[in-house]
């Protein structure tokens, strides 16, 4: 959750207006008749014509309830195989496919069988709501997450199935189903309350009058709070001035203590009662690295719980916890601080002080509550995954070894200089050694060094020598002072070292972020970018990373580091879910937690652009809160970068699209002109000959026949060009390359164009030493014919056309120069663009717009190039065909075998 969105639990659904309405029937205990009440309501709605189906309803064999189920359409349950038996679960896909207006879902707190899409039924309900389907559901008060430990305290029964408070907050309607405790106990005695066999004994203890009264009160109060909220919202939205607290905040301090979870829940209740926002704060001290994995997990869990309960979870680095907490609190306008009571011994507190006491003493106007808290009695905590033996144990021994060496050195040096100096100097030598150990190895080794130093000091230097006794009172004082100074120095130096390490790690992550943004800014294609993102995240967080993006409607792997394209169906499902909902799914997340990978969405303000899948070979927690936050920052940057690239690509595509569209319509206009003009001439000449042939004299008749021939020739060329163009555009040109003799090509092309050239002599100058070039003979001939016809078209009769070949830069250039008007400078760069001439209607003759584009296309296809210029000296255009060195056939190889 980001800081800007402290109450972000219900994320904006894809279509906010289309979200379904949620109505919860809330009861204090099983057996109050929630299901019955829900069915009655549903009946009434059905009678009004609402399309109602039953997703899941537990009748528990009660006749009254079963009778009410009659007449409803029921979506069959899905059976999930689990441990040799089949468990029946609500079929969420069938419900989504059926798309009723309203679906009944009993027991909101139910846990789904392992292997289901979501571990919890309330998550199924969220998905149904997001699909725009209304839901009626039932819930008992002890399943509400923030009340979980209160209920446990009242009833001595801890309920494992909890529903986050956000679910209740998001409900459009909460209806309390209430009967008096006495009536409920009577119903229980009458056997009207269904209790599962294995839980019967436990639950019977639950149904005491005292418990039920307390639970009922809780349910009523929770509902009343909601009513208050609704009233408040109403007042706010209607700009009614009210006595609501403005700008107040509650802060709860989270530590690795087991009571932290209870503390967070307490904070949520307290904040809700006052309707103020709240923050869960964890101060990460330099000692943090010394904590066990279990302790770190506990902190992470408490912070996650805070986020789930709608609070803002923050973790800051710091050393003096009380000062850091208060500084943060003042900065955030916090008015109340909730702390856990210390579990440490009085002696420890006397020596070290207590955070709680420090905070209380310096809190000033901020209220401080210290809660003794409940130890979470969670059996599984005891068996929680313990990390491997602390890897730095070896390092510790080295540190203590270094301490011993340091003390030994100090002692040796002291003995050496003793004859020349006084006892005070020996003091200082030992202090130096303690200081050195503290600075390089931290607190505990330096304390050991202090102890060792004092012992050596006493043994070797304070008379009587070689005993641990001190006789001279002055020496006793000196020794005491030495011990105190050594301890203080240890503390101070170690703290400085801790701060240095913390600062270094912060600097590293800042640097990493900067480096990351620099790296991804360098990428200018999407593939480069995705690869850079995958690589950077993988190396910074020591994770395996895959990035998926939607492609043709399905998510596909676009980049992976280490390269690994294998995603199984379960992973793909989780990725899809994460992409569609914009929330984390998979390993360790709320949804599909059994997956191999954790999938995190890459969100921008507009949409989810990609999904990152993360995993690591080793089991256990994938991400600490700190690395989670770093990951969040990285993914945000990556998402923005992807969006930026996507955006520019879309803009470019749109521009090209528009341009193509414009040219296409220009071509269509030109096409109809180019085809109709010759057709009109041919048809006119033919009908004239047919009808009046006898009346026309011979020369006029010949003239008409010539017209038919010429115009048909024009059309032939034009249609030929169109064919070539479509072949080029369809990419169906198959190159048949061989070594070409340019002299031969030019002469045959000239011969083919022959009649069209009319009175324009062609000078061919192709020296014998011009090597053969690799080309497709037919395509090259097309190019030459097009250029020759083009020259004939734009020059006057009697002018000459010169074709010359020369070697240049290891390649060959073939120039076709005419003596016409040349090409306007402005057109030189665009003359080979498709349809270019088609735009210029007046100057165009048939097919002219296509010929040069085809030349360009063919030359490019063959690996060569073509460009146009005007003659340097006189008038006329020069078209140059370029055959780069790669296309030249080495003359040596051209010698045929005998």
């Amino acid at each position: 959750m980001s800081e800007q969105q402290p109450h972000g639990e219900p994320l904006p659904p894809p279509k906010p207006s289309a979200r379904g309405r949620l109505r919860i029937f809330l009861g204090a205990a099983p057996g109050v008749g929630k299901t019955f009440e829900m069915l009655l309501t549903a009946r009434a709605l059905k009678a009004e014509g609402v399309d109602v189906v039953i997703g899941v309803v537990e009748t528990h064999g009660r006749k009254e309830t079963a009778a009410l189920v009659e007449g409803f359409e029921t979506i069959p349950l899905r059976s999930v195989p689990h441990g040799g038996q089949c468990l029946a679960e609500m079929d969420i896909d069938a419900i989504l496919a059926r798309r009723p207006q309203l679906v009944l879902v009993d027991e909101l707190a139910h846990s789904n069988a392992p292997g289901s899409r979501h571990p919890k039924r309330y998550m199924d309900v969220e998905e149904i709501l997001a699909a725009g389907i209304d839901v009626l559901t039932t819930l008992n008060i002890q399943h509400v997450e923030s009340l979980n430990d209160v209920v446990a305290r009242i009833t001595r029964v801890r309920v494992r199935e909890v529903v986050p408070d956000a679910m209740l907050d998001a409900a459009d309607d909460i209806e309390i189903v209430d009967i008096s405790p006495d009536d409920l106990i009577k119903r229980l005695a009458d056997g009207k309350v269904y209790l599962p066999e294995q839980a019967r004994r436990a639950l019977e203890r639950f149904f005491t009058r005292g418990n039920l009264t307390a639970l009922r009160e809780l349910a009523l109060r929770r509902t009343a709070e909601r009513v208050d909220d609704a009233l408040l919202d109403h007042m706010r939205s209607h700009a009614i001035r009210g006595p609501w607290p403005a700008g107040e905040r509650l802060l709860v301090c989270v530590t690795s203590d087991e009571a932290s979870l209870g503390l967070v829940r307490y904070a949520k209740r307290a904040a809700d009662r006052q309707r103020i926002p709240w923050i869960a704060l964890h101060v990460e001290s330099p000692r943090e690295s010394a904590r066990s994995e279990t302790e770190r997990d506990r902190v992470a869990e408490a912070l996650r719980l805070a986020e789930r309960l709608g609070g803002l979870a923050v973790s800051i680095p710091g050393d003096r916890i009380a000062d850091d907490v208060l500084a943060f609190a003042r900065e955030r306008n916090v008015t109340q601080i909730v702390l856990g009571a210390s579990r440490r011994s009085r002696v420890f507190e006397l020596l070290n002080g207590s955070v709680a006491n420090d905070v209380i003493r310096r809190a000033g106007l901020i209220g401080v509550s210290v809660i003794a808290g409940d130890q979470e009695v969670k059996a599984e905590d005891k068996h929680a995954l313990r990390s491997a033996p602390r890897p730095d144990l070896g390092a510790d021994w080295k540190a203590y070894g270094a301490a011993a060496v340091s003390v030994a050195l100090a002692t040796g040096f002291g003995l050496l200089v003793q004859p020349y100096v006084g006892l005070e100097t020996i003091d200082l030598i030992f202090l130096v050694s303690v200081l050195a150990v503290a600075a390089s190895h931290g607190l505990w080794p330096s304390l050991a060094a202090s102890l060792g130093s004092s012992l050596c000091y006493n043994f070797f230097f304070i008379p009587p020598l070689h005993t641990f006794t001190i006789t001279d009172p002055a020496n006793v004082a000196a020794f005491a002072v030495f011990l105190i100074v050594a301890l203080v120095v240890s503390q101070l130096a170690a703290r400085v070292r801790g701060q240095v390490i913390a600062a270094r790690s912060r600097a590293r992550s800042t640097e990493a972020l900067y480096e990351f943004s620099r790296k991804i800014a360098e990428a200018d294609t999407l593939d480069d970018l995705l690869w850079a993102v995958a690589f950077q995240i993988a190396s910074m967080l020591k994770l395996e990373v895959v990035l998926l993006m939607p492609e043709n409607g399905s998510l596909t792997v676009r980049a992976a580091y280490p390269p690994d394209d294998e995603l199984d169906a379960a992973d793909l499902g989780a990725a899809r879910w994460a992409f569609d909902r914009g929330r984390a799914a998979g390993r360790g997340a709320d949804t599909l937690p059994g997956g191999k990978r954790l999938f995190m969405p890459l969100r921008t303000t507009k949409a989810v652009v990609a999904v990152a899948g993360l995993t690591r070979e080793s089991p256990g927690t994938l991400l600490t809160p700190a690395s989670m936050r770093l990951l969040g920052a990285l993914l945000d940057q990556a998402a923005v970068a992807i969006e930026r690239l996507d955006l520019s690509r879309h803009m470019e595509a749109a521009r090209v699209e528009a341009e193509t569209e414009r040219l296409r319509s220009a071509l269509l206009a030109s096409l109809s002109h180019d085809l109709k003009t010759p057709l009109a001439s041919i048809l006119g000449a033919a009908t004239t000959l047919k009808n009046y042939g006898a009346l026309i004299d011979a020369p006029a008749r010949d003239d008409l026949v010539d017209t038919i021939e010429t115009e048909a020739g024009r059309m032939t060329r034009f249609v030929g060009n169109l064919l070539d163009l479509s072949r080029l555009e369809a990419g169906t040109i198959r190159l048949d390359r061989s070594a070409i003799d340019l002299a031969d090509q030019v002469s045959s092309a000239t011969a083919r164009v022959g009649p069209a050239l009319k009175q324009r002599p062609v000078d061919i100058d192709i020296p014998a030493d011009i090597p053969f070039v690799m080309a497709d003979a037919l395509l090259l001939e097309h190019v030459l014919i097009n250029l020759l016809e083009n020259a004939a078209k734009y020059t006057a009769e009697g002018t000459r056309i010169a074709i010359a070949a020369r070697r240049e830069n290891g390649g060959v250039r073939l120039e076709i120069a005419d003596e016409g008007a040349g090409i306007p400078e402005a057109d030189l760069s665009r003359i080979f663009e498709k349809y270019y001439r088609a735009e210029d209607r007046d100057r165009r003759s048939a097919g002219a717009g296509l010929g040069l584009a085809i030349c360009k296309g063919f030359m490019t296809a063959m690996g060569g190039d073509i460009f146009a210029a005007n003659r340097a000296g006189g008038q006329g255009a020069v078209f140059t065909l370029v055959f780069p060195a790669a296309l030249v056939v080495p003359p040596g190889e051209a010698e045929p075998a005998a």
């Binding site: 064919l723 061989s738 070594a739 002299a743 045959s748 061919i764 053969f772 003979a777 051209a894």
Partner: protein, 225 residues
């Protein structure tokens, strides 16, 4: 001169009508067929001197018609009427034994010239006359004599081989493959062929850069006029 019987096999009626009109004026006796089956029947019955064959027939691939005809050792000259951009089919037709091709659309004059060349070629084949003489170029295959405008020309063995092939099939298009097969036994490279043709032109043409005797059929092969 008696009328030369000629068969047109093309499924396009307007083309047949145009060819009938044009060719009749040139002294041909024109038979028409719209399908391959019809054409083969007329071929057997009328024994025409030349066959004009469209490759895109409704009932049978034109290439198969050529293949079957040549398989029956029927040497009737075949001129293929092909569409543009159909270079592959054109070469295949020549390799299968067609004598020549014209590309649609074509002028009637060009077609008649091709027909006459094919007929001449047939006469040559039948008569076994080993002397080619045309427009100043004389090739006497029995005496290995090549004379250009009255001057003896000395050719290398490979050059002579190529020229002999061209002379034997004068007027007919010889594909690169046919020539290479004959001269290098299937090995070799088009590039070598082009070099030899260039050398031949240097020796036999009046303007080597504007050849009039050995003509290039781009992408297909060569033809001796």
């Amino acid at each position: 001169m008696s009328e030369t019987p000629i068969l047109i096999v093309d499924d396009e009626a307007p083309i047949r009508r145009l060819l009938r009109t044009g060719l009749t004026t040139q002294g041909f006796l024109v038979f028409e067929a719209a399908t391959a089956a019809e054409g083969e029947a007329i071929l057997a019955r009328e024994r025409p001197d030349v066959l004009l064959l469209d490759l895109g027939l409704p009932d049978k691939d034109g290439l198969d018609v050529i293949r079957d005809l040549r398989a029956r050792r029927d040497a009737t000259p075949i001129i293929v009427l092909s569409a543009r951009g159909d270079e592959r089919a054109k070469i295949d037709a020549l390799d299968l034994g067609a004598d020549d091709y014209v590309t649609k659309p074509f002028g009637i004059g060009e077609l008649v010239a091709r027909i006459r060349a094919a007929l001449r070629h047939r006469v040559q084949q039948q008569g076994g006359e080993p002397v080619y003489e045309r427009d100043g170029l004389l090739v006497d295959l029995s005496r290995r004599l090549v004379r250009c405008d009255g001057v003896d020309v000395k050719l290398s063995p490979k050059e002579y081989e190529i020229l002999r092939m061209l002379v034997t099939h004068a007027g007919k298009v010889l594909t690169h493959r046919m020539l290479m097969h004959e001269i290098w036994g299937g090995g070799g490279d088009v590039q070598y062929l082009r070099i030899y043709v260039r050398q031949l032109r240097q020796k036999l043409e009046r303007h080597p850069d504007r050849p009039e005797r050995i003509l290039t059929e781009t992408g297909v092969g060569y033809r001796l006029v």
